[in-house]
């Protein structure tokens, strides 16, 4: 019997192992994934916005009714604000069925927002920071414009859709940290829509403002004031990461818009009514185009004015002017 040869010739490398460099492999995967995430976020956001804008206002209102017990009770100040809002909507009417309800929140935050169902909330801190009624009217007009353009509904719809999409992708990767990194990427692209919405609301708000007063100086005053406050705090968030565009950008946008529409940028500024100034002693006196700090020389919005608490029947609170 012929002997059978037994041997082990050496085997070549690289058959069971790939030769591509792992970093190249990784880079390709990441690029593909980022591309898909960005596209998915953009598409989902567009779809959600279109759909949400179709939701009737009554549905929004019934949704809002669920958290209406968290909103503050009406008082003198909120009635004054409502009156101002009503004057704005009288000058520049809303679509039928849309109603604005203004609330006043007694906290030092310098902010105002619009939410579902036409509810607008204004904080005491913001009111105290306003130089005159025109600036306050611009704030209200801006928030009313958000409601008019259905921004609360679309932004909520967009947020839900994007969150859903990202959680599907994150569940797929099966790795916590990677999932969180993906989540941040999605959030960054999602925020740019809000910036657009803010600029749109500025435009529509200007239209209302000029319809009421005949000029738009209040808007200019508002944004210069906000810029001042930001600088005073020493805290400047890079524009990309914040949902509101930087104030200089908005000032230029407003001046540009005013020029294009030929709205006067100078005009009579209305001071705040005496009754309101009594209730909010930290407010400015409101005369002139002065953007400086309030008459009593103190920093706005940061003071603790709890002892000057708002009561329905306020009787001669401590006047610190």
């Amino acid at each position: 019997m012929r002997a059978i040869e037994y041997s082990n010739p050496p085997l070549p490398d690289g058959i069971n192992v790939s030769r591509t460099h792992p970093l190249l492999d990784f880079a390709r995967l990441v690029a593909a994934l980022l591309a898909i995430t960005v596209i998915a976020v953009v598409v989902l956001a567009l779809v959600a916005e279109r759909l949400a804008a179709r939701v009737p206002f009554e549905v929004e209102q019934s949704l809002a009714a669920q958290f209406s017990d968290q909103l503050p009770v009406p008082n003198d100040i909120s009635r004054y604000l409502q009156g101002l809002a009503d004057r704005l909507t009288a000058a520049d009417p809303l679509p039928p069925g849309v109603k604005i309800t203004v609330h006043f929140m007694d906290e030092p935050t310098v902010n105002a927002f619009a939410t579902l169902g036409g509810h607008v909330v204004v904080y005491r801190g913001l009111m105290e920071a306003m130089p005159n009624e025109n600036a306050l009217a611009m704030v209200l007009a801006h928030e009313i414009a958000h409601v008019r353009l259905r921004h609360p509904a679309t932004s909520m719809g967009r947020g839900l859709a994007v969150g859903l999409g990202l959680s599907v992708i994150s569940a797929g990767t099966g790795d916590n940290l990677a999932a969180q990194a993906l989540g941040s990427a999605g959030l960054l692209t999602g925020l740019s829509f809000s910036r657009e919405q803010e600029l749109e609301a500025d435009e529509a708000g200007l239209v209302s403002l000029s319809a009421l007063y005949g000029h738009v100086q209040g808007a200019d005053a508002l944004f210069q004031r906000m810029a001042e406050l930001l600088f005073a705090d020493g805290y400047r968030v890079p524009a990309f990461f914040s949902t509101h565009p930087l104030d200089e950008e908005r000032i230029y946008a407003i001046r540009d818009l005013a020029e294009r529409n030929r709205w006067p940028t100078q005009g009579a500024l209305t001071p705040f009514p005496e009754a309101i100034r009594i209730q909010l002693p930290a407010m400015t006196s409101g005369e002139g185009e002065d953007d400086s700090l309030s008459a009593d020389g103190e920093d706005d919005g940061v003071r603790d004015v709890e002892e000057h608490g708002l009561v329905e029947d306020s009787q001669a609170p401590d006047q610190a002017q």
Binding site: A3, S18, L33
Partner: protein, 151 residues
């Protein structure tokens, strides 16, 4: 802020995993190749019926190794599992483990005086990590029957 910290941590782990992992892998492969040259005279076959003129003593020999994945590999596999397809980062891991297991089996055979190993079989297990974030490992067992020529 928490998001930023998470991203930084993630990048650090991935970088460390990549650098250390690549280094360990290259070193291991060099080691494997040198030992393969050295143990080339111990022959391995998957056949079960050796036709040999001698009546040899039979010994069961086995070699096993557990190799852990690194963070970079795990991350790449997570990404790849979204798209499907070949998982190149793991192919080198199991290849290393298999070759190492065969080498250890050969070493045991040589220690027993066997020069041929027949009916070589493989078993691959995956040892999962404790939770989703901690690493897992791959174990490969190679076993066969070594034939020892009587003295």
């Amino acid at each position: 802020m928490l998001d930023l910290l998470n991203i930084i941590l993630f990048c650090c782990l991935a970088t460390v995993g990549y650098v250390a992992g690549r280094f360990a892998e290259q070193r291991h492969y060099r080691f494997i190749r040198s030992r393969e040259r050295e143990l080339a005279d111990v022959l391995v076959f998957a056949s079960r019926f050796p036709v040999l003129p001698h009546a040899d003593k039979q010994v069961l020999v086995a070699g096993s190794v557990v190799i852990s994945e690194d963070y970079f590999k795990r991350m790449v596999s997570g990404l790849q599992s979204l798209f499907g397809g070949r998982l190149k980062s793991y192919e080198s891991l199991v290849d290393r483990a298999r070759r190492e297991a065969v080498l250890r089996m050969k070493e045991e055979a040589r220690a027993q005086g066997a020069r041929m190993i027949f009916n070589v079989k493989f078993q691959t297990f995956s040892i999962p990590g404790k939770n989703r974030n901690s690493g897992g490992a791959v174990e490969v067992l190679a076993y066969g029957t070594g034939l020892v020529r009587p003295a």
